[in-house]
């Protein structure tokens, strides 16, 4: 599926739009990390929780559950919620 990468993670992907595969959000993030090592830990902590200011959307719906099934023809959008000063 297509994945839209936020600017803060372009240092990993080198591009705003990349491809990744998987039947669930967990699998897609795992595939992203295989392609771009280190990117997953910047978004998901060691307790498998999405980090506080990372937001994920699929087909317009916000995602919080890593085991959420994803259709292969959709687009996963990763956002950095504005925070800090």
């Amino acid at each position: 599926m297509k994945v839209l990468i936020p600017g803060g993670l372009h240092s990993y992907t080198g591009a705003a739009r990349v491809e990744a595969s998987g039947a669930t959000l967990r699998e897609v993030l795992g595939d992203l990390d295989r392609r771009y090592p280190g990117i997953r830990f910047r978004m998901v902590d060691e307790q498998q929780r999405l980090r506080p200011h990372v937001r994920l959307f699929f087909a317009g719906e916000p995602l919080r559950d890593l085991d959420r099934p994803l259709r292969p023809d959709g687009e996963l959008i990763i956002l950095q919620a504005l925070s800090g000063g």
């Binding site: 936020p6 803060g8 993670l9 090592p37 280190g38 830990f41 910047r42 978004m43 998901v44 902590d45 060691e46 307790q47 498998q48 929780r49 980090r51 200011h53 990372v54 950095q80 919620a81 925070s83 800090g84």
Partner: protein
């Protein structure tokens, strides 16, 4: 190398100041006289850099503890003085908790310490919330070190995130005895000072004599808040400590800290964050007091910043403010943001919460500002390049 030859030799070395800030990192390369500085940066613009450290064992490897406002923590390594950076393949991270139990996540790596000279690729990291980690491959992969991260007693002493400092409770001041790689110290805000004699297999508290806030039980380590602990390189049996409740000295083998800050001027007090030791004289140390009255403004007392130096192991203190603003200067210095070089006379450096970098080339007698308008400075290290 003896202390004297070390002093004369180091004046021919290449000095670099490593400045870590809330918005990136800068390197200030000094000339041989410490009179001119070439600025290199920003590195990691927009990243929160808690600590930037040069490996003294090779004089060229840099490690940077980084995160951003949005993204998780990581560590970067450079072997070409920042021309290129390689990210850790496995940054410090706690063990995943068993299903149904709450586990901790590293918010940021806060403190980096190179291990003993006999362990050239090994580093230690202290994190927020409090955790101790070790890398044996130059900072590329990190693993929890020692049982303390998961130990129920230590977890109790660490407290909750509500017990910590404003930007999170921290494990800091990781110290390796230069005579014995298995002899380690670390400190926690909060959670006290701890020592290992067996290479980290076990740690034990080292808090006797340390005071806590009035009304709290000093026998409970959760109430102890050491801000910065330093070991004297010229006498590794002597440690100094700046604490939430005063300035202390410990002379081993004693296990009892002595509050040496009682001799500070009463109107200034003995509260602050950084503490710097002289590289060749264990009787000399510097502190930078802050206003810890009322609601803890954490500013220079009265808006008049000054370092205080002792030349007699804390029996007396001398105010050092020549060249600093005479008033209306409300900045202060974080615990990692004051340091010394190894020149003779020793250079002292500090970075302020208002983004200024200051130095003294004569052990604190006169000060000058060498950079302004940086982001809030979190850490300053003075290092010799190979």
């Amino acid at each position: 190398m003896t202390a004297d030859s070390d002093a004369s030799a180091c004046n021919t070395r290449r000095l670099v100041l490593l400045v870590a800030t809330r918005k990136g990192a800068w390197l200030f390369h000094g000339d041989a006289r410490r009179g001119a500085w070439r600025v290199d940066g920003p590195h990691f613009l927009g990243h929160i850099i808690s600590h930037l450290v040069l490996d003294p064992r090779d004089g060229k490897t840099l490690l940077a503890a980084a995160k951003t406002g949005h993204l998780g923590p990581t560590i970067f390594r450079s072997t070409d003085l920042g021309a290129s950076w390689r990210e850790a393949a496995r940054p410090p991270a706690f063990r995943q908790a068993a299903a149904g139990t709450a586990g901790r996540a590293v918010d940021h790596s806060f403190w980096l310490t190179p291990a003993h000279a006999d362990e050239p690729e090994t580093w230690y990291a202290g994190t927020s919330p409090q955790g101790l980690f070790r890398s044996e491959d130059g900072g590329l992969t990190w693993a929890p070190f020692s049982p303390i991260n998961e130990d129920p007693q230590y977890r109790k002493w660490m407290g909750t995130e509500q017990d910590g400092t404003p930007d999170g409770p921290k494990l800091h001041s990781i110290i390796v005895d230069p005579r014995d790689r298995r002899h380690l110290y670390f400190a926690m805000s909060g959670g006290g000072v701890h020592e290992s004699r067996d290479g980290g297999e076990t740690f034990a508290p080292l808090v006797d004599g340390m005071e806590t806030v009035e009304g709290f039980d000093a026998s409970d380590l959760a109430f102890h808040d050491p801000h910065c602990v330093r070991l004297c390189p010229s006498d590794p049996d002597r440690l100094y400590q700046q604490n939430h409740c005063g300035i202390y000295r410990l002379d081993r083998p004693s296990t009892r800290w002595v509050r040496i800050g009682r001799t500070m001027p009463q109107e200034i007090g003995d509260i602050g964050f950084p503490l710097v030791v002289h590289p060749r004289d264990a009787n000399t140390a510097w502190v930078f007091p802050m206003d810890a009255t009322t609601v803890w403004p954490r500013t220079s007392p009265g808006g008049r910043p000054a370092a205080y130096a002792t030349r007699d192991a804390g029996a007396t203190w001398q105010r050092q403010d020549v060249g600093m603003p005479a008033g209306q200067a409300w900045w202060t210095i974080k615990r990692q943001a004051m340091t010394a070089d190894r020149f003779d006379p020793v250079g002292i450096y500090f970075g302020t919460t208002s983004g200024e970098l200051w130095m003294s080339a004569d052990e604190g007698r006169r000060w000058e500002c060498i950079a302004r308008h940086l982001p809030e400075i979190y850490a300053v290290e003075a290092a010799d390049l190979a």
